[in-house]
Symmetry: C2
Subunit: 408 residues, 2 copies
């Protein structure tokens, strides 16, 4: 990716972060994204039936505000999930305090939380930090980076993505539309967003787009990005993707704008891959390319079975070209498969042909190939024209270390 | 469990094992169970669409022989899976050689294989070892133990279970019916046997039971035992459960014999729990008791989601009473749940009440409880009367070490 500093941020937004005292590490843990005027909003939330309090409030607020958002208030260090009425009260208290400060309605505030589940969120810490945070907001690149940093939990690196497109306005003049996004997520990563998102993602654009059209763009992009990744197969209670359109560029975008759709998908895919690459304890990023499935849905079943197999993922961790574990996962995926027609390649290396060890299988070459930090596994089912691309990781001692000692 | 040596084995069978040279460790790797006369057989195999060659041959042979088995030939060290025609040929060569040696038809031979997938099975090693092995068979307890040992792969301990019941014969005399079972399995353990089984299990009885009735007993017992365990969520290509009835006790058992059904289920459950307790790298065995589900099927969905969650399993490894991860897994299980009505207890310790942290939650006590080698997690969904009991394990550094370096 090109150097981020050559990009400029979408107009119409200000950013900032501070230390509210939620992270034990003492790092920044409370961030704001504030639109100068109510922005069009589209959102997607986790399919988990246990959903965190902020997601419940977010859905109510979007409905009440007609999908308009002024303030996004994000805390890390506490997921505000499984906390009952106290959780809902905490999320509402944050909305009320932010609404007063920014002279909007509480329904135009979009709260987000990430961190440990089951511990009541101390909203008073957020409310106390709000005035100082509001005074520090800015529209510079550094301010955006502050948000990217504050929302991290077990993530090791900030995740941001950018795009710019030229859009011809009604008056014939060309205007620049910018897209910027940031997100977090490292463990409990297997988004199933509805319309399909422990991942928190915020995508901003300065195009003018109606909320219903904005939602269509978001759904299409999510399906090819965040719904195509898995770190550990655990679908979070807090997954959220929010897309805001400020309209500050002066460019109006309706349905079916191919350039905008492509730019949005590019930004979402970049962020999705960054989330996988920062997966908890991972040492390899694997691109799964499933082809020849009976349907796209079947291709996705195969990809997910492989992405969730501890045996496949530990083999990758060890640089072990044990393709038999891939065959087992394909077999129990639920997809229609004819075992004797399955071909597997690691990159360009033929590993398995017609369901058996390929004549040209070279164990040393295969080991060297998958010892790389990033590699591709190509599965050809020879059943039909269904396909998908999916990104996942290995499963390492690092993942165990991180997760066997989280809340203590 | 009582000391195994106080039991005696079912009559009508002989046992033995030898070194055919398949295990790199040089340990015994080829075992025989031979019925004195063709025994009634019932079997269950993996639901994985990629199935090993011996399973394909077994199904053909059972059909051809009218569910009669003389010889069970089991090798460890090679799964004979994903090996195409060569795999089928290898399994058949073993059957042919055993049939000649024991003067039966090749269709009365039941081959089984476990070990690495995708490497052609050197049947010539088995065929060469057969005469010596046949000469060494015996009906003593030590001979049965030889089988239990030879079939192990990454297992650390032998697994056997026994039961005896008194059955009143047609002539009014009481006869003793014995059941003995042995099995192996440590990784790739998430049996989905059809009628639902990397697990190889051999259950033997000296009752006289027709094959169709025998199959009904087996199906019922499997549903409550082997289909209620998971180590890593990977469903194997080789899972097999075989039940043989020699009739040598002289006791005839028809359908609906409650004592026999109970004894069989007890033996299967004991073996299933032993397989979990010997799971790859595990340090804790967890009994999940799901109650109050909308249906038994829903209860099983919840149990499986928990049993497959890397986040829940790593928390257990660390003795971390992070019940929020349990809530997340319950939420994405696909079961009908009302998050605000979920109660969770670790043993008798109340952890979560009405979907939130219980007032009496004592983190230290909870930690101490789950630091035990075996513990119970009770989930009450308060939705209906569906329930299940399920056994699973934690996920540790040991599992990663074992599986990141298997075939190399």
């Amino acid at each position: 990716m090109a150097n981020a500093t050559q990009f400029v941020l979408p107009q119409g937004f200000r950013f900032g972060a501070t230390k509210a005292g939620l992270k034990k590490s003492g790092r920044t843990d409370f961030a704001l994204i504030v639109a100068d005027a109510p922005a069009s909003a589209a959102a997607a939330f986790t399919a988990n039936r246990v959903t965190a309090a902020p997601l419940i409030i977010d859905k109510q607020n979007l409905r009440a505000s007609g999908s308009k958002v002024r303030v996004v208030a994000i805390n890390a260090g506490n997921a505000n999930c499984a906390a009952g009425q106290a959780g809902l009260d905490a999320a509402r208290a944050t909305c009320d305090a932010a609404a007063k400060l920014f002279a909007c309605t509480p329904e135009e505030v979009f709260p987000s939380s990430t961190g440990i589940i089951g511990v009541p969120l101390p909203a008073e810490k957020l409310v106390a930090a709000l005035p100082g945070l509001a005074a520090s907001l800015g529209a510079q690149f550094d301010h955006f980076q502050q948000v990217a940093q504050a929302i991290l939990t077990t993530d090791l690196v900030e995740k941001t993505a950018y795009a710019r497109i030229a859009v011809k306005g009604d008056d014939g003049t060309e205007r620049e539309v910018r897209i910027a996004a940031t997100g977090k997520g490292s463990g409990m990563i297997h988004p199933q967003l509805v319309p399909h998102a422990t991942m928190l993602v915020y995508v901003l654009t300065d195009a003018a787009i109606e909320p219903t059209v904005l939602q269509q763009y978001l759904n299409a992009s999510i399906e090819l990005s965040f719904n195509r990744i898995s770190v550990d197969g655990d679908t979070s209670t807090n997954d959220t993707v929010l897309l805001l359109a400020s309209g500050a560029s002066g460019a109006v975008i309706g349905a079916g704008h191919a350039d905008f759709a492509a730019a949005l998908t590019q930004v979402c895919t970049s962020l999705a891959r960054q989330i996988v690459a920062d997966g908890e304890g991972i040492t390899h990023v694997v691109e799964l390319r499933i082809n020849g499935a009976a349907s796209d849905a079947d291709a996705l079943k195969v990809a997910k079975a492989i992405a969730h197999s501890p045996l496949v993922k530990t083999a990758w961790a060890g640089g072990d070209p044990n393709w038999g574990r891939l065959m087992a996962a394909i077999g129990y995926s639920g997809a229609e498969v004819d075992p004797d027609r399955i071909d597997i390649r690691f990159g360009d290396l033929q590993i398995c042909s017609n369901g058996g060890r390929a004549a040209e299988f070279d164990e040393k070459a295969a080991h060297d190939y998958i010892a790389q930090t990033e590699f591709a596994v190509n599965i050809e089912l020879n059943r039909g024209s269904g396909s998908c691309v999916f990104w996942t990781t290995d499963l390492t001692h690092g993942y165990i270390s991180i997760n066997a000692d989280y809340s203590t």
